[in-house]
Amino acid sequence: MTTASTGLGGARLRLRREPMFPLWSIAGVAAVVAILATYPLYGTEYVMNLLGMFVCFSIFALSISLIWGFAGILSLGQAIYFGMGAYFIALSLKLSYAAENPTRYGGTIPDYMEWNGLEEVPTIMAPLMHLEVAIVCLLFFPTLLAFIFGVITFKRHIYGVYCAVITLAEALILQEFIIEYQAYTGGFNGITDYETYNNMYFLWIILGVAVVLFGATRLLTHSRIGTVLKSVRDNDVRAEFNGYEVANYRIFVFCFASMMAAVAGGLYAAWMGIVSHLDTGPILSIEGVIWAAVGGRSTVIGPFVGTFLVKGAEFFLSQQLAWAWQLVMGLLFIFVVKFMPDGIIGTMGKSIANRRMRSAYAETGGAYGAETLSIADRLRAVFAGGNASFMDYLFGRDGRRG
């Protein structure tokens, strides 16, 4: 634990820098993972399905939060990459399933291809039958697309609103593409009816991947690169004047996030057993944005919390009042944007950070802004002793608004 100190009139202000993976956060993550991983032993299958799905979606929300909350790129088409990953895996599973289980008409090609008059699997798609090829494709092609997109736009200082609108259109076009070319993609109905990996062991794999990706994001955002990204988010012109090639940082983080979204999509396809055009479209993209926003876009754990809360509420509410869900979602959008732009975790982290800052000030004996401290603040500072609290360790203090 290092201490940064600064002097004014002899008094010293001590601010502790948090460790990369504080003990409390490790314990918290371990507890959550343990609960989720053992759930199939005592829970119902229906809820297990939901939990696996939510974890996949939370990785997707994390990818949005990484580019939006930490780098200031609002993409309304992140589901493109999620969908690409999902389609690669679904196609692969479907092709190998079809090869072993002939359809009603005796063909060994996926049933939807047969319905659309294809005689055999197109040569470009045939290698996807091997899962290894599909996984390599899943890691490579979404990243490549993100790279191309990033080079075209970020290098020309196109981001913010323009980037959001273009990515939205991109998602819409991909969706129409998938519906139109149904002989290859399954069209409106999507790809389904293949061998799914829907058991406890695959849930463990999903959780393992999620832990690795959340950890990697934490590493990334709290490294030097993360600091540069945050400065780019807050003031890109100043970052550029400080000598940083802003576009390259943006391209890098966009590629990384897109690959993450693709991995989430691949896991989702294997888990759910159905992939359709809805998994690539603007609606899922924007839902992901709201999950990240509700949890806290500039936190690592926020997307996880946001996804579980919003998606869980959706499943709970839509059973009771199906029509009301959209209304709730709309109101939630407006509420979060207007009154809680930092999200749940971000708001909590911010208040903790403020308190810690105040107590650090108080430790200096009132040399810094002591006149603004109330007696209660001083007492709290004495009792807290300037130590970072449990919540602070758990959630980090990146509660800044982007």
Partner: protein
């Protein structure tokens, strides 16, 4: 072949006109107030429903519903601006999300009032039929009406912006908000009225779209995305951006959809848009800012 492409070229005019009418309100709101109104498509949808009420309830035709829709959706825009947008002006990206919430709510409300079934609105009797045009297909009168209306709306907006005192204030706010405020212009009021005006234009778009499209609660979203594309292509620095952007996108989509298919057409036009903003990042008629700070 050349003849058929010519026919497509003429029928593309109507798509261009629709795009102009739909994108004009959005351009005004984005250009002046800097607000990304994702609910624009749903404003168009509400306009179409108002038109269907005007027809079935009051017995009026499109000529009646245009002013009624303008006022009704303009008032709706005023309410949305007062309740949701207010206080978000310095955060354009968040207006995008908040107005997305508005669009979800509008869809639910319309579904509750009118149900999910499709509504049909007829075009006025005097605009039915068509006249012979170059190529083989007759050119419908209604499409000519759309083209004339789009030109009329552009001219009216031009007059509002460049020949009235309010327009002077609008242009001043657009150029330099802080300075305009210092000169005594009530910028909050300008934002509010511009938002209402842009919403009213969306209402007009809904009124004239209702007879040629089926009216359903989810009809708006594609128009919103197309309108955004027009803005990205044309830029919002100049009123000319809207017709030029709409012309390129509308004609491009129509002709390419004829030559290949509609999805390939859309894809090619999208690639063209990306190419254009790669060269001119703020659109063809983008407002060149003299500051290094990029408009978010």
């Amino acid at each position: 072949m050349g003849d058929a492409v010519l026919t497509q070229f003429f029928s593309g005019f109507s798509l261009v006109a629709i795009l102009i009418i739909a994108a004009l309100g959005l351009a005004v709101i984005f250009g002046v107030a800097g607000v990304i109104n994702m609910a624009h498509g749903e404003f168009i949808m509400v306009g179409a429903y108002v038109a269907s009420v005007v027809q079935s309830g009051l017995g009026g035709n499109t000529f009646w519903s245009i002013p009624i829709c303008f006022v009704a959706v303009g008032l709706l825009g005023l309410v949305v601006e007062r309740t949701v947008i207010r206080g978000l002006y310095d955060r354009p990206l968040e207006t995008l999300l908040a107005t997305w919430g508005v669009s979800l709510i509008l869809i639910v409300i319309i579904k509750m009032i009118f149900g999910t079934e499709l509504h049909y609105v007829g075009s006025p009797e005097m605009l039915q039929g068509g006249f012979p045009a170059p190529g083989n297909l007759p050119f419908p009168w209604y499409r000519l009406f759309l083209i004339l209306l789009s030109i009329l709306l552009l001219v009216l907006t031009f007059i509002l912006f460049f020949r009235t005192k309010f327009g002077l204030a609008v242009r001043a706010v657009r150029r330099n908000r802080t300075m305009s405020e210092a000169m005594g212009i009530n910028t909050a009021r300008v934002d509010m009225l511009i938002f209402a005006y842009g919403s009213g234009l969306a209402g007009v778009a809904g009124a004239v779209l209702a007879p040629i499209k089926t009216v359903s609660p989810t009809m708006g979203f594609p128009y919103a995305v197309d309108s955004f594309m027009v803005l990205v292509m044309g830029g919002v620095g100049n009123l000319l951006g809207v017709p030029v952007g709409a012309a390129i996108i509308g004609e491009g989509e129509t002709i390419l959809a004829f030559l290949f298919n509609s999805v390939i057409g859309k894809l090619l036009v999208f690639l063209l848009i990306v190419l254009v903003i790669r060269i001119v990042p703020r659109g063809i008629f983008g407002y060149q800012e003299r500051t290094l700070g990029h408009r978010r």
